[in-house]
Structure formats: structure tokens, C-alpha cells
């Protein structure tokens, strides 16, 4: 509860949160007024028509068609208003602007992993720049989780084997709580993190600092979190081939030829996955990995080389 917050809602941390709040207050007060009318009528009737004489038998009341129509039509109009309004804000809540800064979120029992395209990875703090839309591409490593920042009024379930996303644009530097809101086991209530919203300059500095100095193979291992849904590192089968022992092998391809899995082959397969399809697999790998930075690609290849 802060200076702008109320008993009911926490301080809004985004402009869109303010829009959600306006809608909340409209429905809240409309409901409260109607509820008060029902309760007042109820109490009034209870007192006014209290049984005075035990042998009283009141006559039936002629029901008013007009009244009946009023309390069907008026609430219907009201709910259609809130439906339309809610729909409008809902679409905004889930339509990330195209220029959003994207961060990969990987949830697992009971921790978060936030991976930045520049190579940085963080676990308990999600650094975001203030004043810039941020889109989170989220997936889970095990069971269902859900990403919730009360101050931003955003929430979405995180599902294994699938990407879901939320976006927000923090308006003020500060720290905002992240909760997991889909039950995920013993430490579900401990699966929290913090959004740290900082200025563009501070963010750039943080990213640069975090993205340096990692040995390439370690960086690659972090980046590889995005690949694990399809590619194993221990030889077990997946949608795509395992990475174990891949480096240096003679790889049979779907067209019958073979290729030596050297650095060039690995790089090509990441950024242009349809160029050479491994024997026994479908051409289903997404093309989005071409967006990885050179440093991340180097890291990935260095990591794959360690998987003997």
C-alpha cells in the first residue's frame, strides 16, 4: 500500500496497470452500489413486512413486467460494457509492441532463469530498462508455473515445451515482486524473484558487465537452456538429435550424404536449421536462433564441443 495504491490494489508500476485499475474500480463500484441496493431492499422488506399476526396470509403480488425487464436489461447493458472494456484492455495486455526488448524466462522447480540476448543470465533479479517495453518469452523445464508481477497486473502460465509470453513497460525505477502463481510443489511459495527496473544507461551498463568474462563454454551452457526442450546433452532421444558426442562425428543426413560435424556445421545448423537435416529427424527447428549474438553462438559451439 503506497501513496498511489489503495487498500485494494498495489501501486501500479505500469501505465497499463493504471488502465486495469480504472476498469477494476468501475466494476467494483457498480457492483458495490447494486449489492447495497439488494441488501437495503432485503433489510427494508424484512422489517416492513415482519409477520405481525400469526394467522396472516398475504395475497400474491401482481408481478410487474416492467420491473422484471429493468433488472434484466440494466445489468445486461452493464456487463456488456465491462466485457467490451475488459476485452480491450486484455488485448493490450497481451499484445507486446514490436520493438519490445525480449528476455527469455525459464522456470523450474523452484527457481527462475532470466537470459538476455546479450549473453547475461540472472536468477533472482530480472533487470529491465525503465520506459521501454519488455517482452518475456517464457517456458518451463518441468511442471506448470505462472509468472505474476502484482504491481504490473500481468500474469501468464508457463508451460513445459511451449513458449508463452507477457510484456510490460516499467514506468519508474524500483523493485517489484515476482511470484509463481501456479502450484508447483513443496517450495511453490518460495519461488519468488524481483523485477529490478533501472534507467536505460544503468541497464546497458549492467548488461555489459554481466555479459563479459564468462568462459565461452559456461555462457554456452546457459544459452543452451533454450535448446534443451528438443536437444538432450546425455544421448537421450528428443525432437532433435542429442548433442552428446556430436562434435567431430560423421553425421548422416536425410538426403543420404554425410557431413563432418565441425564448427561450421554446428553454426550453420543453429542459424539456418533447414540447410542440412539430420537423418531420422523432421525439419521442425525454429529459425529464431539466428538472432543469437556472435558471442552466444561461439559459446554454444564451445559448450557442444565439451559434450563428449
Amino acid at each position: 500500500m503506497g501513496e498511489n495504491g489503495s487498500v485494494w490494489l498495489p501501486d501500479p508500476g505500469t501505465t497499463l496497470a493504471g488502465e486495469v485499475d480504472s476498469l477494476f474500480w468501475f466494476v467494483f463500484w457498480a457492483s458495490t452500489i447494486m449489492f447495497a441496493m439488494v441488501v437495503l431492499a432485503k433489510v427494508y422488506f424484512m422489517v416492513k413486512y415482519k409477520r405481525a399476526n400469526e394467522s396472516d396470509v398475504p395475497e400474491p403480488v401482481e408481478e410487474s413486467k416492467v420491473l422484471e425487464a429493468v433488472w434484466i436489461v440494466v445489468p445486461t447493458i452493464l456487463v456488456l460494457i465491462v466485457f467490451t472494456w475488459g476485452f480491450d484492455v486484455f488485448v493490450k495486455l497481451y499484445s507486446a509492441p514490436p520493438d519490445s526488448y525480449e528476455i527469455n524466462v525459464r522456470a523450474q522447480q523452484w527457481s527462475w532463469e532470466f537470459s538476455y540476448n546479450e549473453g547475461a543470465t540472472s536468477y533472482t533479479e530480472l533487470y529491465v530498462p525503465v520506459g521501454r517495453p519488455v517482452k518475456l518469452n517464457m517456458t518451463s523445464a518441468d511442471v506448470l508455473h505462472s509468472f505474476f508481477v502484482p504491481a504490473f497486473r500481468v500474469k501468464h502460465d508457463i508451460i513445459p515445451n511451449r513458449y508463452t509470453s507477457v510484456w510490460f513497460q516499467a514506468e519508474e525505477a524500483g523493485e517489484y515482486t515476482i511470484h509463481c502463481t501456479e502450484y508447483c510443489g513443496t517450495q511453490h511459495s518460495g519461488m519468488n524473484a524481483t523485477v529490478v527496473a533501472v534507467s536505460e544507461e544503468d541497464f546497458a551498463a549492467w548488461i555489459a558487465e554481466q555479459s563479459q568474462d564468462l568462459p565461452p563454454a559456461i555462457l554456452g551452457q546457459q544459452v543452451f537452456a533454450q535448446c534443451q526442450a528438443c536437444h538432450s546433452v546425455d544421448g537421450s532421444p528428443g525432437i532433435g538429435p542429442t548433442m552428446q558426442g556430436l562434435y567431430g562425428m560423421e553425421r548422416p543426413l536425410a538426403d543420404g550424404s554425410t557431413v563432418v560435424a565441425d564448427e561450421d556445421y554446428l553454426l550453420e545448423s543453429i542459424i539456418n536449421p533447414m540447410a542440412k537435416i539430420a537423418e531420422g529427424y523432421q525439419p521442425v527447428m525454429p529459425a529464431g536462433f539466428s538472432a543469437l549474438s556472435q558471442k552466444q553462438l561461439d559459446g554454444l559451439i564451445a559448450y557442444i564441443k565439451t559434450l563428449e
Binding site: V20, P58, W71, I72, F87, V91
Partner: protein
């Protein structure tokens, strides 16, 4: 006027364990259900008190996270599957429905007894989870978490599967009974609204329950044989489980609330001594809600990953179903208008229902708004909302029905003063327990949390204090109800001056065969103005209203009823 063999009724006409265990009498089956669901409610309630106690302060209070997670899960499973779903239909439906219809039993008495045993077997199987591994994650059992834990889930799903058959068979029985066994003159327009609502409930039970059966069966198979249906690691889809689950569990919400509508309608009519306002609307909207209830399951899944288009459609249909429910509340309030309102303890619960259920309804509208639900989903706001609907709706109505029909069931009056004190404690305790949960939920407190941030401590503490007041009220009810059986004042034939057949045409407690002769119905269930002769001597009606049906007045002349046909 004598109306029964002296002192003989359904409770004492035969004695011994077998006379109960093998009875085909719907009244005895109803009473046995009452004992069973009361035990489930007691166990679920004690777990609720422990859960609230743990949440009194942040960090560990009385138990660790695993014990807490299993406690709230077991609380939910017991309350939903073993208590709320059977409570009103199986207890009051069984006891009251055939008598209100003027029938001597349900259509299939043996099936009825089988339903009871199937329910008990299912409950026992589900409870075996306790000694066969952990069971946590709430009553929704979302995959793949639910299949990633121990084998407890096998027992719970098997238990729910078995209990489902009980629900289906009871529903089927009631549908046939209502269609085929109404007394002469008891047209659809004269039916008590309790019958209408149980009828609508039965439709949902028959149509929806098979879906949860299939869903938990698939979950069982996935767990037992690693068949990939819901678990993505095996090639399944976890969102599919949610669709299946809510395809049943949203209609199940109406299995839980429609019977409550029926009880409240009867209470408002009787204690206002007035026609229930908008009778046809209340009756038919129950049936309409039963069908529309199948089309809104997706409103539980706005943030789950289902398509945005379906979220929009589900939100819209949710409002369509909200309107008739809201109009019903207005109808109940309007029933008192120019009526003759008597605030006996059953009526206090009806009045309470209008308050708590309305809050549950309005907060449901808030949750139905797409953009707001994104914020409130899976927070305590939802927890508070469904407790206002399930407990503030179903349980409060069940308590009203219990106080209303108790004299008829056992022939004893409970202490009215204690009943009023208990009603106040329940009302105050309930609101103190659950209202703060709306606030902390809107502030962002997630549900199913063992531990929480210090900012929520004030609301959690209030909620826990409320649970003590609520528990005190409920234990007081248990106390004076049991006391009434031992030394309660003898109940009259029709202490509330009601017009439905269980009050006007049977003894208290009812005879083994309900009626010696089939009653002939000449007026609607709430046509008090057509029954003025009953009230000439005051509020408590002390004579049976046998006018018009020419029934035999003495047991010697009464025809021996046929044995029910299996």
C-alpha cells in the same frame, strides 16, 4: 384426526443394523448420507482450521510446507467431492424429494442404496491416498505436476472416479422420479422450486460427471503406465488436462450451487408465507443455467495458454449465465415484498445466503472481466470468491435446509435461541474469515502459498481469527442438533406453516411409506392464499391437510403399499 399407527415412523418401524444397512427407504438412505457427509465436512473443516492456523503468521507456525500443501489439498478434495457435491442432493434430495412429489420412494430404490455404497467406497479409496504417498497441489490436480508426485494421486483419482458413479446414479434416479412419480395434480408449474433445482442439478450430474471420470481415468493411466496424454515430456499437452478438468468442474460448480437455489426458494416462500416471486423464471432459469454451465469452462483458463479467442468467447458467455443468477437473487428478495416475514433460524440462513452469495456473485463478475482476471487469477481473491459461492452459497443454504427439515427428519425441535446465536457466529465468522482474503488477493497474495510476505500478515491473521469464530458457530450447531435428539421438544406436524407435501401430508417424522394414500395436489407449492384454512389457528399448523385427497385416516384402513420394484 389420527394419521398413523401410534408412534411408528420410518425411524423406529424396524430396528437393528441390517434394517439400516439394507434399507431401500429413501429417508433412511438420506439420513445415512447425512452422517457420511457430516463426517467429511468435519474432517475437511478440521483441516481448514489447521491450514488457517499455519497461515496465522509468515514462516512456519505449526507445520512444514509439505504437511501444509497436503492439508489444503485434502481439505479441498474432501469438501468438494465428499461433501459439497453430495450434500444437498444426496441428503435433502433423498429425504425430501420423493415426499415433495407425493411418492412413496424414488423410482429405483435399490439403485439409490447402491449409490450410497458406491459413494462410501469411493471416499474410502480416496482416503487411502493418505497412507500411500503424498497428495498435494489442490483439488484441480493439474498435470504434469500431479503425475510427477507419488502414487497418492492413483488413489485420489480412482476415488473420484468411483464417487462420480454415485453422483450419476443419484442424478438419474431423481430425473426419472421427477418425471414419473409426481402425485396427481402436481403439475410442473406446481412443483416446489427445490424439486426444480434438484432436477436441474441431476441433469448436470448425468451429463458432466462422465467427463471427470474419463479425465481422471486418463490421468490414472498416464501415471500408472506412462502413456503421454497430458505430460509434455511424454508427448502430451497439459492445457488439454485443464480443458477436460474444467469441462466437468465448471458444471460441477452448478451441481454445488443449484440445489442451494432450491433450498433458498423454499425457505423464502415458506417464511414469507408468499408466492416466490418470478416462480417460472426461477424454475426455468435453473434448467437454463444447467445447460449454459457447460459453455463457460474456459473462464478458468484466461491466463493458461488457451487461445485468446476462446478466452473472449468464454468471458461473454460467463456474463450470460451471470444475469439469470442475479435476477434470481432479486426474485428472492422480492418474495418478501408484501409478504409476512418470520425470522426463524432457517430463514436467517436464507437472509444470510442473499448477503454472502451476492458478494460471491458480484466478485464472480469482477473475475469474469478478462483484463482484471489476469491480475486476480490464482490469488486469494479467487479463494475468497469461491468460498463466498461454495460456503456462502451452498453450505449456508445447506445449514438453512438442515434447520428447516430437521424437525421433520427426527421429530425433535432444536433450541431456537442457540440456533440464532450460532447463525450469528457463522455469519460473522464467515465474513471475517473470507472478506480479508479479497483484499489480500487484490493486493497480489497468490493462493496455495505456504509462506507469504510480511505485508499480508494483517489480513491473514484476521482470516485466521475469523476461522475460529466460524468453527465455534459450526460446533455449536453440532452440539444443539445432537442435544435435540436426546432431549429436544417434540416437533409438530408443520411447525413452519409450509405448504409442500412433506409438511402438509405426512406425519412427523414421516411414516415408513410416507403416505397411506397418494396425495392429490390442488395448489402450487407456494399458494398460501389458497390454503388460508390451515392458518386460522395461528402460525404453527398442527393438522395434516388431507382435504381433497380422500385419504384413509386410520392405518387399519390404509392399503398396504407395494414393495418397490427394483
Amino acid at each position: 384426526m389420527s394419521h398413523s399407527a401410534p408412534g411408528l415412523n420410518y425411524l423406529n418401524h424396524s430396528k437393528g443394523f441390517k434394517s439400516w444397512a439394507l434399507t431401500l427407504d429413501h429417508k433412511r438412505i438420506g439420513i445415512m448420507y447425512m452422517v457420511a457427509v457430516s463426517l467429511a465436512f468435519l474432517a475437511g473443516g478440521i483441516l481448514a482450521i489447521l491450514v488457517r492456523l499455519e497461515l496465522l503468521g509468515p514462516g512456519e507456525t505449526i507445520m512444514g510446507p509439505d504437511a501444509y500443501n497436503q492439508s489444503f489439498t485434502l481439505h479441498a478434495v474432501l469438501m468438494v467431492f465428499a461433501f459439497i457435491i453430495p450434500a444437498i442432493p444426496a441428503v435433502m434430495g433423498n429425504f425430501v424429494l420423493p415426499i415433495q412429489l407425493g411418492a412413496k420412494d424414488v423410482a429405483f430404490p435399490r439403485l439409490n442404496l447402491a449409490s450410497l455404497y458406491i459413494y462410501l467406497i469411493g471416499a474410502v479409496i480416496a482416503m487411502m491416498a493418505l497412507v500411500n504417498g503424498r497428495i498435494d497441489g489442490g483439488w484441480t490436480f493439474y498435470a504434469p505436476y500431479s503425475t510427477s508426485i507419488g502414487n497418492g494421486i492413483l488413489f485420489v483419482t480412482a476415488g473420484v472416479f468411483v464417487m462420480g458413479f454415485s453422483s450419476i446414479l443419484t442424478g438419474l434416479n431423481f430425473i426419472v422420479t421427477v418425471h414419473k412419480m409426481r402425485a396427481p395434480g402436481l403439475t410442473w408449474n406446481r412443483l416446489p422450486l427445490f424439486i426444480w433445482s434438484i432436477y436441474a442439478t441431476s441433469i448436470v450430474q448425468v451429463l458432466a460427471t462422465p467427463v471427470i471420470g474419463i479425465t481422471v481415468l486418463l490421468l490414472f493411466l498416464e501415471k500408472a503406465f506412462s502413456i503421454g496424454i497430458f505430460d509434455p515430456a511424454l508427448g502430451g499437452d497439459p492445457v488439454l488436462f485443464q480443458h477436460f478438468f474444467w469441462f466437468y468442474s465448471h458444471p460441477a460448480v452448478y451441481i454445488m450451487i443449484l440445489p442451494a437455489f432450491g433450498v433458498i426458494s423454499d425457505l423464502m416462500g415458506t417464511f414469507s408465507r408468499h408466492q416466490v416471486s418470478g416462480y417460472k423464471f426461477v424454475a426455468l432459469s435453473s434448467v437454463a443455467i444447467a445447460f449454459l454451465g457447460f459453455l463457460v469452462w474456459g473462464h478458468h483458463m484466461f491466463v493458461s495458454g488457451q487461445s485468446a479467442v476462446s478466452s473472449v468467447v468464454f468471458s461473454l458467455i460467463t456474463y450470460l449465465i451471470g444475469i439469470p443468477t442475479g435476477v434470481k437473487v432479486i426474485n428472492w428478495v422480492q418474495t418478501m415484498y408484501k409478504g409476512s416475514v418470520q425470522l426463524k433460524s432457517p430463514m436467517l440462513y436464507a437472509i444470510m445466503f442473499l448477503f454472502t452469495f451476492s458478494i460471491g456473485g458480484f466478485t464472480g463478475i469482477i473475475l469474469g472481466v478478462l483484463a482484471i482476471d489476469v491480475h486476480l487469477h490464482d490469488t486469494y481473491f479467487v479463494v475468497a470468491h469461491f468460498h463466498y459461492v461454495m460456503m456462502g452459497g451452498n453450505v449456508i443454504a445447506a445449514l438453512g435446509g438442515l434447520h428447516y427439515w430437521w424437525p421433520k427428519m427426527f421429530g425433535k425441535m432444536y433450541n431456537e435461541t442457540l440456533a440464532k446465536i450460532a447463525a450469528f457466529l457463522v455469519f460473522f465468522g464467515f465474513n471475517l474469515t473470507f472478506f480479508p482474503q479479497f483484499i489480500m488477493g487484490a493486493q497480489g497474495m497468490p493462493r496455495r502459498y505456504y509462506d507469504y510476505l510480511p505485508q499480508y500478515e494483517f489480513y491473514h491473521a484476521l482470516s485466521t481469527y475469523g476461522s475460529w469464530v466460524l468453527a465455534a458457530g459450526l460446533f455449536l450447531i453440532m452440539f444443539y442438533m445432537i442435544a435435540s435428539l436426546i432431549n429436544g421438544k417434540k416437533a409438530g406436524l408443520n411447525p413452519w406453516g409450509a405448504l409442500t407435501l412433506e409438511w402438509t401430508h405426512t406425519t412427523t417424522p414421516p411414516d415408513h411409506h410416507n403416505f397411506h394414500d397418494t396425495p392429490v395436489v390442488t395448489r402450487g407449492a407456494y399458494d398460501f392464499h389458497l390454503a388460508k384454512h390451515l392458518f386460522e389457528h395461528g402460525g404453527e399448523v398442527t393438522e395434516l391437510d388431507l382435504g381433497g385427497d380422500g385419504s384413509a385416516a386410520t392405518p387399519e384402513e390404509a392399503p398396504v403399499p407395494n414393495e418397490p420394484v427394483a
